[in-house]
Amino acid sequence: MVGFVTVCGLVLGIVIGILRPVHIPAIYSKYVGLALLAGMDSILGGIKGYLKDTFDATVFFSGFLINSLVAALLGYLGDQLGIDLYLAAVVVFGSRMYQNIAIIRRVLLKKEA
């Protein structure tokens, strides 16, 4: 049920996005990208937690929303201050995504074996 709802929501969102795209100005496009990156990191974290039976919905949602917002805001703040703070977000979330993928892979391999 949870998976079904998630996939439905995702597909609906993508379809709306394709049919009724809002044109994001190029300068904000970067921050939306950051928010998406943080979101993807949270999703992978959620999958990891689910597989390891440590999934907590509250932690997941707060992480998902707040990480996305903070990543975008920090990126914006960094640009205003003349520091490439968005690089920090890219590195942190990027490396965490790789770690989570590695953990997911290992858990799945163990289950298969």
Binding site: V5, C8, I14, I24, I27, G33
Partner: protein
């Protein structure tokens, strides 16, 4: 997750909304990344607006010139009916107008098409060989003149003796009109004379070499029916006057 039923429903709703929002952002963000080539830096938006406004004004002005010219021709035709002398003068004016490049022209001729290479230059390539430069257009126009073209145009711009063809960064200005590839250069005249002479000219051979080596588009076609638009320039003398 193991709470009561109400919590579970709320959870699913929140999950659904979040997933939808995420998918929406994903789809929306994907689009400008794909079309990155067309994304304009924010500080240029204002300038682009101004330029688009001016271009719209230009288009309106062109239409006005054409309308006024049609009106003049109408008046002339009406007056020509009044006497034989006026009719003869009107005839003469129309001939002179055609010679001055102020009328649309039709007839046989050749079309030379030039366009930038579709290949991306590698690091070791000189990118200059992959694009069409203003000088190419000037040279082709000069070749056409040399081999007897009666009327020449590049895309929709008539080329007269004083038509400027200049480079302005990634685009070429012809008669101060922005142009981007492909450049279609039309010349009315003796098809065979023009076609054969141009295709055997050294400069055209060089362009063909660039075509084979760097992938630029360069072609020459003889055509029986072509049209060249009228020049939009006024025939007013600005800096020179006829000496008495």
């Amino acid at each position: 997750m193991n709470g009561n039923r109400r919590n579970s429903v709320i959870f699913l709703v929140v999950l659904f909304v979040t997933a939808t929002g995420f998918g929406y952002l994903l789809a929306v963000q994907f689009e400008p990344t794909v079309n990155k080539a067309y994304v304009v830096p924010a500080q240029n938006v204002e300038l682009v607006d101004i330029m688009q406004g001016l271009e719209a004004e230009n288009v309106a002005s062109v239409q006005r010139i054409l309308d006024l010219r049609n009106q003049v021709v109408d008046f002339e035709a009406r007056n020509a009916a009044t006497s034989g002398e006026v009719a003869a003068l009107t005839q003469r004016v129309q001939e002179l107008r055609a010679k001055a490049g102020q009328t649309d022209m039709m007839g046989a001729g050749v079309v030379v098409t030039l366009s930038d290479s579709l290949r991306t230059p590698t690091l070791s390539d000189d990118p200059n060989y992959f694009v069409i430069h203003d000088g190419y257009l000037r040279s082709i126009v000069n070749l056409m003149r040399r081999y007897g073209a009666m009327a020449i145009s590049i895309n929709d711009q008539r080329i007269l003796a004083d038509s400027p063809i200049v480079c302005a960064g990634p685009i070429i200005l012809v008669n101060s009109t922005r142009m981007s590839p492909p450049y279609v250069i039309t010349a009315l005249g003796d098809q065979d004379m023009l076609g054969d002479s141009i295709s055997q000219d050294v400069f055209f051979r060089v362009l063909e070499m660039y075509r084979d080596q760097f992938g630029i588009v360069c072609s020459l076609e003889k055509k029986a029916s072509l049209s060249v638009p009228a020049s939009l320039k006024t025939s007013e003398w600005r800096y020179a006057k006829g000496a008495q």
